[in-house]
Symmetry: C2
Subunit: 556 residues, 2 copies
């Protein structure tokens, strides 16, 4: 270990197979999943504990990582480990149906909930940014985001282009942990994609994992490809090395018209996530250490330029959407009054799904065996025989998405289906169909687990965008229902001050007790989403609640 | 019911005695305690659902109150009711060891966590201010605060006057729900007290309940009493009808020197809690409806005047302390740069107790029978035979404090004692010594359950004042340990944006299952406080953790 408690040369991968290192699968599972988050095939910068999304970490320091592992190895099945911003702080006696791990990451009292104060604490070793699934140990690499992005692009296609994206192209920025999913999702949805990315390594990484088809070093080269593919009706993607804050305005200037415009640079983190105009990557790296204030200032000014270009596209009638990185807010703070003229992707395309508790449900095979996932894929098809879209997704995912770390699958399914899948998987573990238990979880940005007024809860029908009672109730209820680990985070996705959200993971270890917990947790968790949207007045949610027989005393 | 869903002529009191209305004591208890919070002998303004602290409510509307009662009446012992800012939003299947009620009140995403946004939501019927124990149903009237205040004044006496407050007097403002405890606590601690209060009803209420000895309508009259009493070495108190923002500077001008200065007007809520200089009560009431912005502006300006006077006392070497109403912050925002020159009462007097998990532990007799409390008083003396201070407190409390609503007792006891008391009370319920079960809880402003940088976590040794992972972990752990109800609030005490905290209540119904839960919850809850302070570097806490054998992996 070096002097810096966050740097380490060690390579971490989750153990695989059916043999336990910890006392029980409910403690083994969080250990494997934390390690899996730092697998070099999964994490963006594993040696510095960074999983994804700028500085989203799995543990506060390497010392804390080791102590979490040690604690889980000795944790009894009636004990609970508390993790406070990536540091294991206490082991307490609870009971078997209680979670084994409870996590709170980056939560700050509102008045102090900004990057300045966070960074001050972080410097003193008192903080860790947990993003969403980084600090809650259920990140599964880029696949996690592919289906969400796919659904978003497909819905955009339905709304604006009669459901057919053939010959259309999408302009975006950023090919990082989440953004890297864009070209693949676009292609799966039938569109071409031009993604501007300033880091050549990120482009190469996406080429290697087949998430992107081609790479270009000049705008002319990239536009030529797009022109060729769209004319031929081929769905292909190109990563253009460059700065989105240069390229977007240049396209406006040239009068080039993409068919959809969005962006996934890490604009939510102005110090670490967005390359300022005119800077080299090396300069950026150096200045982040030596003069973070300057980096922030320049990055914010550059974002304003990029958002201005997005507004220009929007003004021409081109569907333009903020992909949840808070870039409109920064531009607005920098003086761009009409930055919110174009919508966020959630109210535009995702909310109708959330109203039915549909969201980023996912699972991972602790065996490490890809066959376990293929078998669960098959089980999903069996249990949801009529969902063509889902069957297509499973086929395409199998074909086009390489597993990273522990094999995993994501399916956007909702209330009434999640618990059926979970119990079926548990049955498959019990009867030996699967080599080892699976863990089942989701992203924090789900139907009932997030308050994030510039993203997931933007423009709620009743104006309750900023009410964060909902994700807190979600976390409490999941704890009460017997999830294996539960987390409450602040600032994920859109940065400090702008979001509060909760995560949940539960292990299907094949026991009858797990079956009961799965039934409760995987019903209650999406049900809180239906409840939250029903309360806000969405008819789809109210109908769903009635149909599923939810008991919502003050609402229905 | 009138047009206003928050106004009602109905009088609510908790049912008493051993017969159940709900299915079980774990559902009966939250119902009785919510009703008890609105008992006219307990609540400040029960017909508007206001329990204490400005606008701290027990339920969002009277309709919600009724629906909460209905839900609890039919709730099964393996179900959990969710309450979102005073509204019952869902009933979900959990299990017997899970809480029966989970509550989240007034939580807002940080960037929107201010009074303006809260008031906007409140107007739309989307919010409720839960204060601390108002919205979490464990307010027990002024007694709750008497011991805290008593300990504070006594400690101030030890630090500044050799432990003897005879012939000394305390100047303060505000005789509301909490502030009304000050004259009685001062007298119990051996001091005289002059309390400035603008509402004659509040003074009369305190006279009736024997919390204050005399009333004065002019400053001269009040000062004459103080002079007479201090000279005679008598500990007595007077309530002066007036505006603290007038009287405090007037005293400075006259060169009068109190021995201790503090204030408990509801400065945390500038719209509803603080009478502006020169305004009549009637004017204030009207303008709060017709021009809240003006009220706020004038109140804030007046607070600045009062804080300037407090700074003047402080500059003369008079012990001056902020009693947790955020008045320094308002004055600072109004331009008083050195507003924080005098300390908050927590770092000054309370933190050493918090380091050992000592805080506002309390219980209430669901039987309604005062004898049940006297028997538990006796049990406490038996189990803690060497704590003279505590024995004195119990004797004085019995003599001087009238019960309000359900008979209740508060004792500041810490880790290692709370669970012993809880289990002993459960035993007393089991063997019929008590007429009915008791509920056991605490204030939110306890050792491990609050992040409030201007009050409970002001000036933490490591600078972690604003880290709110701790109260969230506390709530999650109490949920996992089997508390009967658990709550997460925002903005209690110091107002929107300035605090996050958690509450817990558990019922001792005499069953063996309750005994197990009590042992876990009443150990774990204060233990999180010791953990939080040990992590911050307090030696008292680290010693306590070692002595009690806590397992704190990343800390010890
Ligand atoms: N569903 C959602 O809500 C959702 C989904 C995906 C992403 N997001 C948001 O999108 C952002 C990206 O997420 P991520 O995980 O991919 O982050 P990341 O940090 O892993 O990747 C960001 C990428 O942007 C590149 N980049 C930075 N500045 C650039 C510039 N000026 N021009 C071109 N490229 C630039 C970086 O090199 C990096 O590869 C985050 O803010 C995230 O919160 C939200
Ligand atoms: N332990 C703690 O941290 C702690 C303890 C007690 C009180 N507090 C804080 O103290 C404040 C008071 O609490 P409360 O429950 O008594 O509130 P409350 O609203 O019930 O009472 C406030 C009282 O102040 C009076 N008042 C308002 N403006 C006045 C003025 N200008 N001059 C004189 N009197 C005035 C009101 O008439 C009212 O009686 C709150 O901000 C509370 O959070 C904190």
């Amino acid at each position: 270990m070096t002097e810096n408690p966050r740097k380490n040369a060690r390579t971490v991968r989750s153990p695989i197979g059916p043999d336990l290192i910890c006392g029980d699968w409910t403690t083994e599972a969080p250990m494997r999943m934390m390690m899996n988050n730092l697998d070099p095939d999964v994490a963006e910068n594993p040696h510095e504990l960074v999983v994804y999304g700028g500085i989203g970490r799995a543990a506060r320091t390497w010392g804390d990582f080791d102590k979490i592992v040690d604690s889980l190895k000795t944790l009894n099945t009636d004990e609970t480990l508390l993790v406070q911003s990536g540091k294991p702080v206490g082991v307490f006696k609870t009971h078997k149906d209680a979670p084994r791990v409870l996590i709170a990451n980056s939560n700050l009292v509102p008045k102090w909930a900004n990057w300045d104060h966070f960074n001050e604490l972080d410097k003193k070793g008192l903080a860790m940014y947990g993003q969403m699934t980084a600090g809650s140990w259920i990140y599964i690499g880029s696949q996690g985001i592919v289906q969400g992005t796919y659904e978003t692009f497909a819905e955009a296609g339905r709304q604006h282009y009669g459901g057919d994206l053939k010959g259309k192209w999408i302009l975006t920025g950023g090919l990082g942990g989440m953004g890297g999913a864009q070209p693949l999702a676009a292609v799966m949805a039938g569109a071409c994609c031009l993604a501007v990315e300033c880091n050549p390594d990120s482009i190469d990484f996406r080429l290697r994992t087949r998430y992107i088809d081609e790479k270009a070093e000049s705008l002319d080269e990239a536009l030529e490809m797009i022109d060729r593919w769209t004319k031929a009706g081929e769905a292909k993607s190109v990563g253009l090395l460059g700065n989105a804050a240069d390229i977007f305005p240049e396209l406006v200037k040239r009068g080039v018209r993409p068919d959809i415009v969005t962006d996934q640079t890490s604009a939510h983190d102005p110090i670490n996530g967005y390359l300022p105009i005119g800077w080299s990557m090396g300069q950026w790296r150096d200045k982040r250490e030596s003069d973070p204030k300057l980096v922030e200032k320049e990055a914010r000014a550059s974002m304003k330029v990029q958002v201005q270009a997005m507004l220009d596209f929007h003004a021409q009638g081109i569907p333009t959407v903020d992909y949840g990185n808070n870039i409109r807010q920064v531009a607005k703070d920098e003086g761009l009054e009409n930055a919110f003229d174009f919508p966020g992707f959630v109210p535009a395309y995702i909310r109708p799904l959330f109203c039915r508790g549909i969201g980023p449900f996912r699972w991972a095979a602790l065996s490490g065996n890809p066959e376990d996932i293929y078998k669960t894929d098959q089980k999903v098809k069996e249990l949801l025989p009529d969902d063509k879209n889902l069957h297509n997704w499973l086929d395409m995912a199998r074909e086009r998405i390489s597993f990273q770390g522990l094999p995993a699958r994501i399916c956007w399914v909702g209330l009434g289906d999640r618990h059926r899948l979970g119990m079926a998987f548990n049955e498959m573990v019990a009867n030996g169909e699967l080599d080892a238990p699976v863990v089942i979880g989701r992203d924090h940005l789900d139907s009932g687990s997030v308050a994030s007024p510039n993203r997931e809860t933007e423009a709620m029908q009743d104006g309750s965008d900023a009410v964060s009672d909902w994700p807190l109730l979600n976390a409490l209820l999941n704890t009460a229902s017997g999830a294996t680990w539960v987390s409450i985070h602040h600032g994920g996705g859109v940065g400090m001050g702008y979001s509060q959200h909760a995560g949940v993971v539960i292990v299907a270890d094949g026991t009858p007790e797990a079956a009961k917990r799965l039934e409760r947790v995987l019903w209650n968790d999406p049900a809180t989403g239906v409840m939250r949207h029903a309360d806000a007045g969405y008819e789809i949610a109210q109908e769903c609640a009635r149909e599923k027989g939810l008991n919502l005393p003050g609402i229905l």
